[in-house]
């Protein structure tokens, strides 16, 4: 029986599962780049067939990186309400915009056509594909690798005075502290439950009560976050961190043949999804 407070379990951001697979050993910059182009391609593909390819591809990536699919599913689980709400809204209100194809229901403002159904199904599947892909990316890449590659991919923007280093530092810190705060939150929930607090007891429509129930957790968490931030500043400054200073990097990435090959495969799939006229 799992505990009602085990929330750090369901948070997959910032979690790294070192299985040492082929995917793990890829150059993180290439991995990130391929991820971005695949996500863009999936986002623009509106065919059933194309999204089926995307889904199979993202499932294959789980297998290739030797990460249990249950990780991907646990990432999808919290998104289900959004997917459902989105689907219902699209089904009811988007029919006018996608009025092509066969008309199934035409009642007042509700117009359901084969095209609007396609939109609903495709957006839900697309959502799941993107969650899977980003899960594979974050589970197979450590946060340091990830931020280093963001920094190196964005480095051309330095020319136009874009604060690349600062942005990547902020993202590193933000991602780094997600699991930490999940653990703190778990501890706080347990501590407050020990003195009689209960969470989420009232019905969901009693928003004020449910918000009030969260105060004993949110307020201490803010305190902890602020004091952690202060500690972090001290730790960084005592190690001579200077904003805007020129810094060298501990790890230097070098893409080799297999990385370029992966880039090519990624490009192929993206172009396929973007431009191939799928029959359905």
């Amino acid at each position: 029986m799992s505990s009602e407070f085990e929330i750090s379990r369901s948070i997959t951001i910032g979690q790294y599962v070192p299985t040492g697979s082929f995917i793990h050993r890829l150059d993180p910059r290439i991995k990130l780049l391929v991820f971005v182009i695949l996500v863009v391609a999936i986002a623009f593909n509106t065919s059933y067939f194309g999204n089926a390819i995307g889904l199979v591809l993202s499932l294959y990536l789980f297998w290739a990186s030797k990460i249990p699919i249950s990780y991907g599913l646990s990432g999808v689980k919290p998104a289900i309400p959004f997917i459902v709400i989105l689907a219902v809204l699209q089904l009811l209100f988007q029919g006018q915009l996608f009025s092509d194809g066969r008309v199934y229901v035409d009642y007042g403002f509700v117009l359901i056509t084969s095209e609007s159904i396609r939109l609903v199904v495709v957006s839900a599947v697309r959502f799941i594909e993107i969650i899977f892909l980003s899960s594979v990316l974050t589970l197979s890449t450590s946060t340091t690798e990830l931020t280093h590659s963001i920094q190196s991919l964005l480095s051309p923007l330095k020319k136009i005075k874009f604060p690349v280093h600062e942005i990547s530092l902020i993202t590193t810190i933000a991602i780094r502290f997600v699991p930490t705060f999940a653990i703190e939150m778990e501890k706080m929930m347990k501590a407050q439950a020990s003195r009689g607090a209960d969470f989420g007891t009232g019905g969901w429509w009693r928003i004020v009560q449910r918000t009030k129930e969260m105060f004993p957790i949110i307020i201490p968490l803010f305190n902890i976050a602020l004091s952690r931030a202060e500690d972090l500043i001290l730790a960084m400054e005592s190690r001579c961190y200077t904003p805007g200073g020129e810094r060298s990097s501990y790890s230097v990435y070098k893409a080799i043949a297999k990385d370029y090959l992966v880039l090519l495969v990624g490009l192929f799939f993206s172009l396929l999804l973007l431009f191939y006229p799928f029959p359905f």
Binding site: V17, K190, A191, S194, R195, G196, I224
Partner: protein, 298 residues
Amino acid sequence: MTGRPIIEIENLSHTYMKGTPMEHVALKGANLYAEEGECIAIIGHTGSGKSTLIQHFNGLMRPESGKVIIDGEDLSKKKVDLKTLRQKVGLVFQNPEDQIFEKLIGDDIAYGPFKLGLPIKEVRERVKWAMDVVGLDFEEIKDRQTFALSGGQKRKVALAGILALKPKILVLDEPTAGLDPKSRKELLDKIKRLNKDEKLTVVFVSHNMEEVAMLADRVYVMAGGTDVLTGTPKEIFTDKEKLQHHQIGTPETVQVLYKLTDLGYQVNTEAFSVLEAAEEIMKVLAGKKEGSEHVQRI
């Protein structure tokens, strides 16, 4: 002790993140038994399962396998009245001062009793009583801002917040960690008073062997998710072999006495309370003096 059993834990196991690559066995067949009014210390290295074990006492964690009976109530049943259980078992987490969230001290201590649905008069009395026990002046402190307190005082407020629930069992996870020596001593005295005068059953986790020697009636030593050794502090701290085997630290007094035995002096290693140990050392010193005078005379 011939009291009524209040905590009975048998063969308890727990695995974190079951079914993921991060799976981690925290408890493996742990046992613990406490009678009403006892003071139990749990010691053991980091990761030995102490914190997981104590979270089973008030139902924050439910037994995965094994038996947990608290004050006669079996927690492995599906339906357990958690609210009553958590009122009965006051659990004070590590660094409990983090959990203070109200603006005023009195309000924060009153949070628990209000959650129990008590009338305001009763809440007020309980807050007053709890503040009294931990040594905070009710009239003077209750309307002060929580953030203006010192670390030691904050911890007292947090402890009062738990005591205001009027628990029968008080469970503390490293209660004195991070406190200065003065607040440490004060807090230990309070815990001792609660155990002796208010007849609370106390279970505490500690890394400080002096504390264990001073407070505990019995000690449980945890290692690898199970209890490997149990006995009175005297039994535990005088069993040199087992101490070494489980790499358990001892109070400084015991260390000094062992050193003296190693050097060939006749001391009673069971005398580990500070006063007794001091007496033993005095004896050695006196003996040495006599001896050296003797040598000189010859």
